[in-house]
Every structure is written in C-alpha cells, then in structure tokens.
C-alpha cells in the first residue's frame, strides 16, 4: 500500500471504480465505427477531387485542348498520391501503451518529426508538380498566341506567389521539425 507524501492528495478521490468491461467494449466499438466513417469520408473527398480533375480533362479533350487535358490528369494523379500518403500516415500502428512513458513520448515526437521533415516530398512535391503542370499548360497556350515573352509576362506573378506560399509552408514545417528534434534530444538525455 502506498504512503502518500500529501494525504490530502489521496483524499481528493478515494472511491473510484473502473468502468464496466461491457461499457469499455462498447466504447471501443464506437471508436472503431468513428474511424470507419472518417475513412469513408476521406475516400469520398479523394474520389470527388480526382473525379473533378478527370472531368476537367475529359472536357478539355472534347474542345481539343490536349495540353490542359494532360495537366488535369497529372493533377488527378498528384492528388491521389497526396491522399494515399495522408491515409498511410494517418493509419499508424496502434500504440503499445505499456512502454515506458519516455519511450512513448519519444516515439510520438519521432513520428511527428519524420512527417514534418518529409512534407516537401510527400505533400508539397506532388501538389507543386500538379500546379506546375497547369502553369505549363497555360504557358503553352499563351506562347502559341503571343510568344514566350507574353506567356512569361502573364504568368510570372502567379508563379512567384505560388512559389512563395510553398516556400513559406516548407520553412514553417522545417522550423516545427527542428523544434521536435530538440525535444527528442532532450528526452534522450533524460533516459537511462
């Protein structure tokens, strides 16, 4: 039996009981059902985004805009890559909660650190490629009419703004990853 260094602490709650096992199981089932619906919504949103770009491509083919059709298909593929990555990273292995607290904390930080550090590869990269495809399609369109100088004049501002937004997201993620790395290092110094 533990001896409490501050008896008032023990007196705060001294008559609690564990939840009935049947209720615990019902709660676990409700949680699984929530996850199932979240996954269904995730797939539906992905299907909608991919469908929209695919429809755009079909429309572009119908009016003879083959470059835009290719760009639309390219974006659809990029969206699928991002959704697959989000799904893969969201559905991680169930945690072994019986591990020492420090190891658990470290594994959580480590997971977040790797997700943030690799954002340029699995998130920004595919989205940027998709957008680059669209800008390229517009550039060809403008160039066909007024030459490449006109295309550059029409597109340099949106390309610059988009690049700045992507660079900003990359920097923010890199800073957050660095802060997590510091926490991981701190944990390592506390361990055995």
């Amino acid at each position: 039996m533990s001896q409490f260094p501050i008896p008032e602490w023990a007196a705060l709650i001294d008559d609690a009981q564990f939840t009935d096992p049947a209720q615990v199981q019902a709660r676990a089932e409700a949680f699984e059902s929530t996850i199932k619906w979240r996954n269904i919504l995730e797939y539906a949103a992905g299907a909608l985004a991919v469908g929209l770009f695919a429809a755009l491509s079909i429309g572009a083919i119908a009016i003879g805009e083959y470059i835009f059709a290719a760009a639309g298909l390219f974006v659809a593929v990029c969206v699928m890559v991002v959704l697959w990555q989000l799904h893969k990273r969201g559905s991680h292995q169930p945690a072994r909660l019986e591990m020492p607290c420090l190891d658990h904390l470290r594994s959580q930080y480590e997971r977040q650190y790797h997700a943030l550090r690799t954002v340029p590869v699995w998130y920004l990269g595919p989205v940027a490629l998709g957008l680059a495809g669209f800008y390229a399609a517009f550039a060809f369109k403008f160039a066909r009419v007024g030459g490449w100088m006109e295309a550059a004049e029409a597109l340099w501002q949106p390309v610059l703004v988009t690049s700045a937004v992507f660079a900003g997201i990359w920097v923010l993620n890199a800073l957050a990853a660095r802060s997590l790395k510091r926490r991981i290092d701190q944990i390592d110094t506390l361990a055995r």
């Binding site: 260094p5 501050i6 709650i13 564990f18 939840t19 945690a95 607290c101 420090l102």
Partner: protein, 173 residues
C-alpha cells in the same frame, strides 16, 4: 472470468482512485477528465490481452494510464504554457479556488502545477503524489533514477513552503 477480465478487475481494485486522480490532474475540465479516465480504462482493458507479466501489474497500469494522458494532452488544441520544474519559483496561483468549498486552495495549486509542467515532469509529480518510490517512478517513466531524484527533490522544495515538509512523511529517495 477470463484472464483479461481478472487482470482488469484486480487493477481496478488497486488503482481506480489513482487513475481518477491522474485524469483530474491532467485535465481541468471535469467532463473531459471523466472521458480521459474512461479512455484509460479502455486502453488498460485492451492492453491486458498482451500482459505476460513482463513487469509488475502496477508498472503496467501506470505506464498505460500515463501514456493515454500524455496523448490526451498532446491532442488538446491549446494548453497552458508549460514550464519545466527547474524553472518554477513557486506554486502557481489557484485557477479556481472557489470551485469546491471542501477542497483546499493548496491542492488546487498542486493540480495547477501539474498542468503547468511539461512531460515527463508532470508524470514524475503525479506518481510522487501517489507515494511511488524513485525507483518505481524511474521504471514507469523510463527516466534514469538520478533524473527522477532531481525532480522529486525540486518538488519537495516547492511544496515545503505550503506543507509541513512532505519529505519527513516519507523519504523516498
């Protein structure tokens, strides 16, 4: 009764109040604290399917409960700014001293202090308040015994001004 149910029953008899206190120490909102407590119970129930006496039942129960609490705190959108034990000069002010007439203001401050501490300092404090020894806290948290010892010493210093030297009630290091 199967083994999982038996372990759950045994753990409930021994640790239910400690886990209820832990939930309230880590979550000030009483409804969310109830939810956190049930989350701990559910995680424990599931974990007992894997329990092969790799460690003492107490160590297992506290690890699962504290890890659930840590995940809960991490998920909270915005928490209070956390300050490590070695940077805290005195107990924080009670956040809601009038919420329960039967409860002392100092206990409110103790809970406020736990909420203010980062992990694993908060875990060390919660376990120390449950009367766990330095060695047991080290086994549960994974900290070295010296790291736990430093934190417990700092806690005693902080609380000494408010209580009649808690270290005299039980020297745990």
């Amino acid at each position: 009764m199967n083994r999982q149910s038996e372990l759950y029953r045994k753990a409930g008899e021994a640790f239910a109040p400690a886990l209820a206190r832990l939930a309230r120490a880590m979550e000030r909102d009483s409804e969310k604290a109830d939810d956190l407590e049930q989350e701990m119970h559910a995680a424990l129930w599931a974990s007992f399917a894997r329990f092969e006496e790799q460690c003492a039942l107490k160590t297992w129960v506290y690890r699962v409960a504290h890890n659930v609490a840590a995940d809960h705190v991490a998920k909270a959108a915005r928490g209070p700014k956390r300050v490590p034990l070695d940077q805290i000069g005195e107990l924080p002010s009670p956040t809601n001293p009038e919420q329960d007439a039967g409860r002392s203001m100092v206990m409110d401050q103790v809970q406020a202090l736990i909420l203010q501490l980062p992990f694993p300092d908060a875990q060390v404090m919660a376990l120390w308040l449950e009367g766990e020894s330095t060695r047991a806290i080290a086994e549960i948290t994974g900290l070295s015994t010296s790291a736990v010892g430093v934190r417990v010493h700092r806690l005693k210093q902080l609380l000494a001004a408010h209580f009649q030297d808690p270290s005299t009630k039980r020297d745990q290091s």
